[in-house]
Symmetry: C2
């Protein structure tokens, strides 16, 4: 029944008043931080870092030591689930994630089972618990997972993709098989997020990273229902605290109304959306998270401050805004621009919360 001393994030996600707009940054513990790169080098590689709760805790806390962020987010990867299903996750240097055994044959789809998060993904739960202890209730801890469709993309393509040849072939030629994988993924993701909540995560986010690669009709058939299905099965509250849920579909600006009806408490926006228009469309139902162009962080601290101010102005007065980028922070970002962003948001947002 402990609440964090700084609970602005949790309040904003519930659209309750806060003195300023809270901010966290997608991929805030990452390669743009020299200290992250040092820890990663010590771990050996990215996967070893994810699997070591001590080191995962260390990198999770690094951005909070530098910047007065309003939340921590578990350091991990969305592909831990398919890895635990036995697909053999590895990272080819400079090439992103790959699976040794992507799903190809019909029997491979049939034999797939959802992993027990307390068994094969125990290292994630250990990291959540350890991070939570290390945070000492200063700021809340976010857990996360990939959406069932986004996980299926990697499981079927075997790697990141531009064309999505394999999953699109399956989607249009064998929709029954794809639905089978998505159903299984929804079971796996909801069990995984519930275990994170039981381990100490105080809010959760579902990354529907590749939902935007789908056609309008296919998004509504193959991604959206499985987001709802995950949220339906999540703990609504735990240890006496309501657990807010965030959903983010990159490229999903046309589908905000439906995303707001998935059971999410907040909808993440990429930077192509005008957050003022998004608030008019769905701000009565959910909080909004976003949505500064991550490219702003390549410019100067002055430009960062100016553009952050524009996003705050577009959202306008009142509760229900969690500031973030519209996508993960790039590895090429100068950390001083992140510092400028966090300060600008905290400072420039206060007038919008005055009563």
């Amino acid at each position: 029944m402990t609440r964090p001393k700084n609970d602005t994030l949790l309040r904003a996600l519930r659209r309750e008043p806060t003195p300023y707009t809270p901010i966290w940054i997608m991929r805030q513990a990452g390669r743009y931080l020299p200290e992250y790169n040092q820890t990663r080098a010590r771990a050996g590689n990215f996967l070893a870092l994810c699997r070591n709760p001590d080191l995962a805790t260390e990198v999770t806390l690094q951005p909070l030591a530098r910047f007065p962020l309003d939340a921590a987010i578990l350091f991990s990867d969305i592909l831990t689930i398919p890895d635990a299903m036995g697909l053999g996750l590895y990272f080819a240097e400079g090439e992103g994630p790959r699976f040794e055994r992507p799903l190809r044959e019909e029997w491979e789809f049939r034999d797939l089972t959802a992993p027990d998060p307390w068994d094969h993904l125990r290292y994630v739960m250990d990291a959540v618990a350890q991070i939570r202890r290390a945070l000492n209730d200063e700021v809340p801890l976010l857990g996360f997972a990939g959406s069932p469709f986004t996980l299926a993309c990697y499981m079927i393509e075997g790697k990141g993709s531009q064309d999505f040849i394999e999953i699109k072939r399956l989607l249009y030629a064998r929709p029954d098989l794809l639905h089978k994988v998505l159903e299984l993924n929804a079971t796996a993701v909801s069990a995984y997020l519930n275990a994170q909540i039981e381990s100490g995560a105080q809010a959760v986010m579902l990354f529907d990273t590749w939902g935007g690669a789908l056609s309008h009709a296919a998004f509504h058939e193959f991604s959206l229902p499985y987001v709802s299905s995950v949220f339906e099965r999540l703990h609504r509250s735990y240890d006496g605290q309501m657990i807010p849920r965030i959903v983010f579909t990159k490229g999903g600006g046309l589908w905000l109304e439906r995303l707001a009806q998935t059971g999410a408490d907040a909808v993440g926006l990429d930077w192509t959306v005008d957050i003022g228009s998004a608030r008019q469309r769905i701000g009565g139902q959910v909080a909004l998270q976003g949505n500064l162009d991550p490219g702003v962080l390549f410019a100067t601290p002055e430009a960062v401050r100016h553009e952050a101010g524009k996003v705050l102005q577009q959202f306008g007065h009142g509760a229900g805004h969690v500031f973030n980028l519209g996508h993960g922070v790039s590895q090429h970002t100068p950390p001083e621009n992140v510092a400028a962003l966090v300060d600008a948001v905290h400072e420039l947002s206060r007038p919008y919360h005055a009563t």
Copy 2:
């Protein structure tokens, strides 16, 4: 004053009645066709193919020999303009286009001039004229160019990009310099398209391929006005025929209303947009082009037919639809699925045009 025997494309772009929905396919002359790969091998490389009017004519006609398409599109590349500006276009094998001398220093921006299309881009005009003769007025010929912003991306990044670090840094830190390049590009693109029209292009398309990488506000400042600026300067008609213009912003589904006000006669849609909703939004002002998911073509001919039928049904009855994919056809597409698509569109669309 010659009109093509099959003028369904030109009629549909003007929202006039046609007996069926015309179809052409973005990148229809390309690597999915074995005969294209043979001609390209004969040329030596992609650029040599673009610069040889005989071979450019040959590959432009190849898809029309296979499929009863309703239009030809000039075989060329959007980067011919910055190449003619002296930036040194080359293609690293398997890596996409690159420039030897991307814009970096302020004096490089200052010294840039718009190329005379009849001089440095003469080879394109020769190809247009030769293709037009070879078509013998069977179907219309489309010309095309990249949008000022899309060209600027390549000119400043020096290559394709995921992060758009250089152009975003410029956009947010030195918007004055970027506007200077965009103004010059608008001049260059309009001169280039007018020369294509004078050489025989019967409609033109502006590819705003990277406009969707911009934030809502930046799109309206850095891409949209320069699209309008190009269209303002184009021949409205030539040789007694009205020259329709198409604009396509990939990822621009949120901005259709503004795209419809650029002076375009038709707006291209990617596959994330529901074409029925798009018609409600802007179908009273412009024709619509699109928008089948190119991924459908990885599946079976039966799936292709089914999904093509869904797009036709979503658009509904009446004039103003040019069928296309929502993006260029992938090199991994089986040609027999393209054949199935063209036949399905011609056959299944007739009931929607019955009076």
